[in-house]
Symmetry: C2
């Protein structure tokens, strides 16, 4: 049986959002499930020494690139004021729900990304998180409480550590049959790999 | 009349090579000429504070990515021992010829890139440069001498400065009607822009 596609992302990342709007459809097209795995890119950068937007020219280009990329994919984009958002709370919410239902957790992740990057809202705010959860018929009191569970906190740390062990140095990173593809701009090569085009170099 | 596509690249850059294998065909498809403009990315990085490969994980991924990307495009790739090559000599050779014939200069650029990234050779070596030139029926004595012309040196510096003024912070950068696209992985969006899909964000 074909292995699942692994989708590592950080809720703060616009390119993660762009990839998130496409990855389930790509999986479905090639008969693969997708494991959604939010991680904390800040923790990854501490290990790798990488930095995100590292100068004004590049930062200004990237804002343009993100908007253009969204138009290219025909998905909504609103640059949030809360950039980069702290993605600890949203990632914990995801893993609390993932332990009960990976499918529900995926729906929550898509809704969080849509709220944050599609509409420009701040999902780290508790009232925003409650509203997102309730629209998906998730018990928001249980969610808010569950985000403080030690097991949930440990899971987020473990998934981030595991990503680093697997040499994930940026996000989104999509892993297909053990091979990593970094960036929303590698989705075409992800599809090509799923078609059987890629092989180890 | 439609404006030319501007193609900024550094001979040391593998992603520049990958874009160089595609850009003329894309231009031809949409009835646009392509202005090839080698620049010195090292000078750009001095201004922008950017760095190329900045850690081991990323560097190891990029080597894999470059090979995979070449297979995706179905073009030859050989990682050169002389990486990153000093691209001053090749860039000067280009501009010496460009003043006489932009078409010949473009042929030379494609041949240099093929020799360097397709075959893994070091085009900064004088004998290699002579051999590349002679295969294109370019007078190699005149070329080697011409690379020392002050006008040629000044042109390379001026083109690099102009790229920085235009906020080119990395290479390859492709400019279509004033809009910049950074990276070989934006060629699909370059085509989309040429089809009329992109507009200012």
């Amino acid at each position: 049986m074909a292995s699942n596609i692994e989708f590592y992302f950080d809720f703060a990342s616009p390119y993660g959002y762009l990839a998130a709007t496409q990855i389930d459809e790509i999986g479905a097209k090639y008969g693969r499930n997708v494991d959604w795995r939010p991680i904390l890119l800040g923790a990854v950068f501490k290990i790798t020494g990488n930095r995100p937007l590292d100068n004004q020219m590049r930062s200004s280009y990237m804002r343009h690139d993100i908007r253009r990329f969204a138009r290219f994919l025909d998905v909504p984009i609103t640059f949030p004021e809360s950039f980069p958002v702290n993605s600890v709370a949203t990632s914990r919410a995801f893993y609390w729900l993932d332990a009960q239902s990976p499918e529900k957790a995926r729906q929550l992740a898509r809704a969080i990304y849509h709220y944050h990057w599609g509409e420009g809202g701040d999902p780290a705010q508790e009232d925003a998180m409650r509203a997102i959860a309730e629209r998906l018929h998730i018990d928001s009191d249980a969610l808010i409480a569950g985000m403080q569970d030690q097991a949930v906190k440990d899971r987020l740390k473990a998934e981030t550590d595991r990503a680093i062990e697997r040499e994930v140095f940026g996000a989104p990173t999509i892993i297909v049959d053990g091979e990593a593809f970094w960036g929303a701009d590698r989705l075409d090569q992800v599809e090509w790999a799923l078609e059987g085009g890629a092989a180890a170099a």
